[in-house]
Amino acid sequence: MDPELTQATERRALALFRADQQRLHQHTDHLFAGLMVLQWLAGIAAAFWISPRAWAGTVSWPHLHVWAAVYLGGTISLLPIVLALVRPGRLSTRLVIAVGQGLTSALLIHLTGGRIETHFHVFGSIAFLSFYRDWRVLVPVTLVVSADHLVRGIYWPESVYGVLSASGWRWFEHTGWMLFEDVFVIASCRRGVREMRSIATRQAELETANALVERGKLAELRSRFVSMASHEFRTPLTTILAACQSLVRYIDHMTAEQRRDRLAKIETEVQHMTGLLDDVLTIGKADAGKLDFEPAAVDLKRLCEEIVAEAQTTAAATQRLLFACADGLAPVAVDPKLVRRILGNLLTNAVKYSPVDATVSCQVAVQDGQPVFEVRDQGIGIPTEDRARLFEPFHRGTNVGKIPGSGLGLAITKKAVEIHGGTIAVESSVGKGTTFVVRLGCPEGARG
């Protein structure tokens, strides 16, 4: 793989990884917002349960802890929740959440009177914070919980006469246990991040491989198209060259009619090639996405009448072209040039592939703001095995026999329909006839 492609793949892998990370962080932020609310409520419930009132003799009043649970607990939860909802995914948000979680632990431990079981909340918090797979969030929570113990010991030491207090070592042990858990959680976070990166890399590589395959397929299609197109040109060129050389060598041996005949052939073939050239250019443009699309408000009925009249000139004298279109159609926006190609092509095909005394009918309507064309013929029909490749460039039906055609008409028609955001459908029966139904979308410059 060339270095540019490798670089592009690495960039894509990084982008995918960042996106995954961001999603994870945001999701976890939202989880914590919910948890904070639950913890706040739990704290209030605990305060009410354990220490609802304080007493002096027979007089009582609501215990400070209740106020603390409501207001201090609320304040502790407030900033983390706000940030989680307003700025999810940012580093500052999850650091604040970690601090909040540590403070919540400290508060809950305090409200429950230092109960051993409440201390487990600390370890649960550290484990929950590991969801972020970002080791940095463990720093604030560990610091806050340790600081709570340490600061209390410094500023509000137990005043005592005569006995050494042993509570200093407790702090050390608590912090030690937290650091112990931190080590494992940090290792787990880093492993998690590595996994996410490897998943992202694998996905980027897969995308690159697929793109390469697509590119290869496209290149192959294009080269096939080119070789088929050049092949198509050689045939009229052969006729022209042979006719010209004939004229040069045998003109004295030819009758006037024979000469005229040859010149006419040359002319016909040149025209044929010119048409072929136009078609090839159109398909090329459409493939490159450069086909002009200029929708305009048109009188659909008049436009179609013109197209039908043009098609009538290519038809045999005994063929009949029926046109049905209601008056007062709802206004639509279509590109008249492309509609000419679409409808014109379908009509000339219908005429070309029908017997000399057949009827071709064309119906135009507007349904739900979408133009609908239906072209029905009684011609040779399209065999089932050709259906799948019907709209491929240069594909011709296996039953076309001598009837000339470049095989590009339907390919161009389909592209023109797609640019309108529309659909084309076909029903056919060999020997009986074919019906094409084209539905054009509502193009606000939109492609299909």
Partner: protein
């Protein structure tokens, strides 16, 4: 009189070839598809067969194989005429038993030379390509 069989589905090209060869004094048989060509070859035993490759139903390669498989026509020299100039296609044709290969568009000189080469009992055939088309 030397008889040439032309098997070509494109009407304009076939007619031109018929008329050119007629002017040159050959007797010309023409078929617009492989099967007709094979039966004409069997009944009339032409001296050289000129066969197009891209034809519907039975293409040039199939026609060639059928000719080579039939005792009556197995030894008639066949020149494949085609727009394909790829080396692979030429080799494929020669491997199936073609004696010569003419690419389109061909010049009249090229066409006549290819026929003469076969009538002269031709060397191991190599592809003869038409000259570049000149503007008429």
């Amino acid at each position: 009189m030397t008889t040439i069989l032309v098997i070509e589905d494109n009407d304009a090209i076939r007619e031109e070839m018929e008329q050119i060869l007629g002017f040159e004094g050959f007797t010309v048989l023409a078929a617009d598809n492989g099967r007709t060509g094979i039966s004409l070859a069997q009944t009339h035993r032409p001296d050289v067969i000129l066969c197009d490759i891209m034809m519907p139903h039975l293409d040039g390669y199939g026609t060639l194989t059928a000719l080579r498989g039939n005792g009556a026509t197995a030894t008639i020299p066949v020149v494949l005429v085609s727009a394909c100039r790829e080396e692979a296609d030429v080799q494929h044709g020669l491997a199936l038993g073609a004696n010569g290969y003419l690419t389109k568009p061909f010049t009249v000189d090229g066409l006549l030379a290819a026929i003469q080469e076969q009538l002269a009992g031709g060397p191991a055939a190599s592809s003869s390509t038409g000259k570049a088309p000149q503007t008429a």
